[in-house]
């Protein structure tokens, strides 16, 4: 039974406590730091600057420079330091400012952190969280606008979460901090609530002040429908909602699944939905080739082939670096119209 997203069933307290994803992640971090003295944060500009994307706002004031550590621009050093600190009992949270920078420190992530449990036969765990910001849409060009979800997902030993709203963000972040494994938190810049960028309003939802957890690896239904299953996560959940509204006008009922976690992947939730709708489209803002969208399509084709009435489809980022010019970048990002077009073709083709 697939969980229900807060986007489907928002609570109705008279006074909702609406905050952004960045604030929700900061709140989860602060509350866990109060509970657990072994939790601390390292990264570039996370202190006085509050993090370039505002994910550590106010933490320096409350916890001081010992636990909120601005680092040199040495990602390999501070991320692999987190692995060593975790090995001896700390619970580090490290911020990789832009995911695009993974190339300078990927060894520390995929070869060190992600393999510590396996290499040690489970005797040395790696309870660390790596937060990073992904995605474009604001003309930051080809080294500051990528998503790279699949680059992490391809490598075993890391969990990956990527929330579409603030409620999920807090619950998943708490789970991430408490998890004994490396968890990659991939926050999308268009959703996060960055001071210097716009934010998709729908991401700002009621977030209870009390601590709560959302299990890593559990997808959620954002909208129920009967004609087609649209799978997304983070930004593409909102693309899917916009597309579903447009499809509704055309008499097509779309079900939307928010993966929320990319590893482990809740394929059962996708399969259950596809078995009902018989149609699948996956929307992915990461490069198409060997991406999460392709993986979801492959697994559905392997496991629910006979339930599919039409060929599965994906709308992903073209296999090209994000271009700078607005017209070029905007045309590359998966859009609601693009989803509608594919779904209409999908259903149209079945007629003849």
């Amino acid at each position: 039974m697939t969980a229900t997203s807060i986007l489907l069933a928002p609570p109705k307290p008279a006074k909702q406590r609406k905050i952004s994803i960045a604030k929700a992640i900061t709140e989860a971090t602060a509350q866990e730091m109060r509970r657990d003295p072994s939790v601390f944060v390292m990264g570039e500009d996370i202190g006085l600057f509050n993090g370039v994307f505002g994910m550590t706002t106010g933490l320096l004031d409350e916890f001081g420079a010992e636990r909120i550590r601005d680092t040199p621009i040495s990602e390999t050093a501070f991320i692999s330091a987190a692995v060593g600190a975790a090995a001896v009992g700390q619970k580090p949270i490290v911020e990789l400012m832009f995911v695009d920078f993974l190339g300078v420190c990927f060894d520390a992530i995929y070869n060190l952190a992600a393999k510590q449990s396996f290499f040690s036969g489970g005797n040395v765990t790696c309870p660390m969280v790596l937060t990073t910001s992904v995605g474009g849409g604001y003309s930051d060009a080809g080294q500051h606008s990528q998503c790279l979800y699949a680059t992490f997902a391809h490598m075993p030993g890391m969990k990956i979460i990527s929330p579409s709203n603030a409620y999920d963000a807090k619950g998943l972040m708490v789970s991430a901090i408490r998890d004994p494994n490396p968890v990659i938190v991939m926050a999308h810049k268009a959703l996060q609530g960055v001071g210097w960028l716009g934010t998709v309003k729908r991401t700002i939802v009621h977030v209870p002040e009390d601590l709560y957890t959302i299990p890593i690896g559990e997808a959620a239904t954002v909208r129920e429908g009967s004609d087609v299953t649209i799978v997304g996560w983070a930004s593409t959940v909102h693309t899917a909602i916009d597309a579903a509204d447009l499809l509704k006008d055309r008499g097509i009922s779309a079900e939307i699944i928010d993966l929320r976690s990319l590893v482990p992947l809740d394929i059962d939730a996708v399969l259950a939905s596809v078995r009902r709708t018989g149609r699948l489209i996956v929307v992915d803002e990461d490069y198409a080739n060997c991406g999460i969208a392709g993986e979801v399509i492959a697994q559905v084709s392997e496991k629910a082939f006979r339930d599919l009435r039409s060929p599965p489809a994906r709308l992903a980022y073209p296999d090209m670096p994000p271009p700078y010019a607005r017209v070029l970048e905007q045309s590359a990002i998966p859009s609601a119209d693009g989803v509608v077009k594919i779904v209409m073709e999908m259903i149209g083709d079945e007629q003849h």
Partner: protein, 333 residues
């Protein structure tokens, strides 16, 4: 060979031009971003890292370079690109994301490539080190007299890529110069918070090469130090590391309010702005009179204004063509 005075005037011309260029970028950047600042809006979206204050580092070094000499800059590249002689209209069109840009608007301000003058830059800290070392290697292998220069900030020196490239250039004795623009800050992190040594020229000893420190953002001292280093490199005597004390007169990027700066620090930097000081020196020492200097400034502004007119008058890129440049066409084999 230019006369010394010509060189001094050339350096002033390009510092003044660069400063005016950034002022125009700044004005254009803010269009559509007030009252609510949103980096995505306006005719000039995305991150913008201005070079105001760091002009001496650009002209003092590039005064010694020709078009074949290779230069890589970082995320704050405009002043260096201008001093290296990058095509100004095409560079401006690139920054505005137009079809006539250096790369047709695909790269933007952190990805300016001008093969005509062997200039490149990038958005990943210290990423330009290796390519410059590689260009220096190519020049050496081909027996060409050219040099390669990599510009990095003082905070980039703690990135692994910097160390590896310095070591490689030194062990292969390549015609390579690393210019460290020390503006004291890596975004909001002070040099003292990221680097255990007060000066990075000390680190030249790790590579057995000369390390030079130029205090006080001094154009003439930069020009002298770079001249020696580049001459050594051309003579096959290997790399040099130069750290220059310079000033970042704007925020890290547009929109940065610099709350992390100690009070008064910014005022001191403006009080010590090298451009007016250098201007006064030119006149004091009778290198040029007020009128000459004014006309140099005037013509510089005119060049910049033309470049902006060209850029703003150019069409946007055509959607669909970008994909074609992900891979270069393979010729018939």
């Amino acid at each position: 060979m230019q006369s010394r005075n010509d060189t001094l005037l050339w350096m002033y011309e390009h510092m003044a031009l660069s400063r005016y260029y950034e002022e125009r970028i700044k004005a254009a950047y803010m269009i559509g971003k007030t009252p609510l600042f949103n980096m995505a809006n306006g005719p000039l979206p995305g991150e913008m890292h201005l070079s105001n204050g760091q002009e001496p580092c650009a002209v003092g070094v590039c005064a010694h370079l020709g078009p074949e000499d290779f230069v890589s800059a970082g995320h704050r590249p405009h002043h260096v690109a201008i001093a290296k002689g990058v095509d100004l209209p095409a560079m401006t069109a690139e920054i505005f994301g137009r079809s006539t840009g250096l790369s047709g608007g695909q790269g933007g301000h952190m990805h300016l490539f001008d093969p005509a003058v062997n200039f490149t830059c990038s958005g990943i800290i210290a990423q330009g080190m290796g390519p410059a070392v590689g260009a220096a290697l190519a020049f050496k292998m081909r027996g060409e007299p050219h040099v390669a220069v990599a510009y990095v900030g003082e905070a980039a020196v703690n990135q692994g890529a910097w160390h590896e490239a310095m070591n490689l250039a030194a062990v292969w004795k390549l015609p390579f110069i690393c210019i460290i623009e020390d503006n004291g800050w890596g975004v909001s992190v002070s040099k003292a918070a990221s680097t255990p040594v007060p000066r990075n020229d000390i680190r030249a000893a790790s590579y057995g090469i000369p390390g030079i420190h130029v205090p006080d953002n001094d154009t003439l001292a930069i020009h002298a130090a770079a001249g020696e280093a580049i001459a050594r490199a051309r003579a096959g005597e290997g790399p040099t590391l130069i750290e220059i004390e310079t000033s970042r007169l704007e925020g890290h990027f547009m929109g940065d309010v610099e709350a992390y700066r100690p009070d008064g620090e910014k005022d001191a930097l403006f009080a010590r702005d090298e451009i007016p000081r250098f201007r006064a020196m030119l006149i004091e020492q009778d290198i040029a009179d007020e009128a000459t200097v004014a006309s140099i400034e005037e013509s510089g502004r005119a060049r910049v204004d033309e470049a902006f007119d060209h850029a703003l008058g150019s069409p946007e890129p055509i959607v669909g063509e970008a994909l074609a440049t992900v891979f270069a066409e393979s010729e018939e084999l």
